[in-house]
């Protein structure tokens, strides 16, 4: 016998634990509890993909936004270029990169990072644009330099929009990182692709991805509350 039947046997062995699995029902709680540990590593890989991609995306978009803040002519070309990255479907992006950066996590991270740039850049620019002119004039009147004005007045007041952008980027990236498996980047998509007909497996992996997106969102809302104490003082 060759390797293939052996592999099949392993799957069958796992699946015959209960009749639920044998019938491939939509969700088999017993199997889910017994086999939950196999989803831990893929879930952690996906967390790493998301955190690294959004952090890199934020660093790049933030730098670009600071550049464009004082040089308005840079805004249209930056919106255009990041818009191209945003529009190219992630799956296509992975396979366009593979001849250049090879299969694996790095390729997935490059594509996911590129995807986040547009969302974060636009929101930082919108946040800075929404700072009231009187506030900036008051800062200048107090003798702040342009740099001090940016870091002490404009950026703090733009935080709600900036974090709103991070939330959109993070939640979308969690969903897209499920596709990283196609590029050999790991993550929960690996568990779906390795057994594409197995409903319970799809439900667990998909459910974990949704929960992960929700958890990231809650964390970012918490960070915003911590960083903008003055907004809490205003009665609703």
């Amino acid at each position: 016998m060759t390797d293939a039947p052996q592999l099949a046997q392993v799957v069958i062995h796992e699946r015959t634990g209960e009749s639920c699995i044998a019938q491939n029902k939509v969700f088999c709680p017993g199997w889910a509890i017994d086999n939950f540990d196999r989803y831990v590593d893929p879930a952690l890989q996906q967390v790493v993909l998301v955190v690294v991609s959004v952090a890199l995306g934020f660093a790049i978009a933030f730098a670009l936004a600071l550049l464009a803040h004082r040089r308005r002519w840079l805004v249209p070309p930056l919106i255009g270029v990041t818009g191209v990255f945003y529009t190219i479907p992630s799956l296509a992006f992975f396979f366009l990169l593979i001849p250049i950066s090879g299969r694996g996590r790095d390729t997935a991270i490059i594509a996911l990072t590129a995807y986040t740039l547009q969302i974060i850049f636009r929101n930082i620019m919108a946040g800075l644009a929404n700072v009231p002119r009187e506030v900036k004039d008051a800062g200048r009147g107090m003798g702040l330099t342009e740099r001090q004005l940016l870091w002490r007045v404009e950026l703090p007041l733009a935080l709600p929009e900036i974090i709103a952008g991070l939330r959109v980027a993070t939640v979308s990236t969690v969903a897209l990182a499920t596709l990283a498996a196609f590029a050999g980047g790991g993550g929960l998509g690996e568990e779906i692709l390795s057994n594409i007909d197995f409903k319970t497996g799809i439900v667990i992996a998909g459910g974990l991805a949704i929960l992960m997106a929700f958890a990231f969102d809650v964390i970012l809302i918490g960070i915003q509350r911590l960083l903008t104490p003055w907004r809490r003082a205003v009665p609703a």
């Binding site: 799956l91 296509a92 929960l188």
Partner: protein, 243 residues
Amino acid sequence: MSAAPHLPLAGLEIFGQAIEFIFNGQEAPTVSGKVGGLDQVLDLTARHLEVTALAMGLALIVALPAGLVLGHYGRGELVAVAAGNAGRALPELAIIAFMAAAIGVGLLNVTIALAVLAVPPILTNTFVAVRQVDRGAVDAARGMGMTAREVITRVELPLAVPTIMSGVRTSTINVVATATIAPLAGVLTLGDFILARNVYGDDGVLAGAMLVALLALTLELALAGLQRLLTSPGLRDATTATA
């Protein structure tokens, strides 16, 4: 295949081979016969566009009236906004795989799965757009004796077009991207080049990626143009909401 091992950019010649694959095709790497070529490319592109259009049509039929009515009466804000947030979190791969495994493969099922992904941005943006319409304009319309229906279709809808269109564009990008994995559910789109490497070879995979990227960018440009056409001239200078 002739390799050129000492050129620094030797790996990049695969991009040339992928373009060759698109226009002329090549011998299939594993079985006998020809794969690629312009005929097959156009075939799969048409299928890709077909399933995208069907899904967007279905999503618009559901989400646009719902968003307009909810927005007009100011009801269901929680649902409309939560749908937008939750929709972003849906993992496309899990949706397509689950649809194929639990309900079955085929064009109808893929259309429904893609429409599920397309509804939230349209619904949320339509709702928000209608809510943001100047109350003064709505009051003036009522004062002129317009019915609720006329207020929605002749005042609120035209003023909401830019924001609605930005939701439609978000949905379309998402649907075109997700249609790439439709071959997993039995609908052969351009994604087939990418997913069936054993049939098309590495050149085919890269060709598929190039074609999908090109298709998405073309559609985005076309929709940006459509948005300009649909936007009333008085609104053209206004900036549209992001994401």
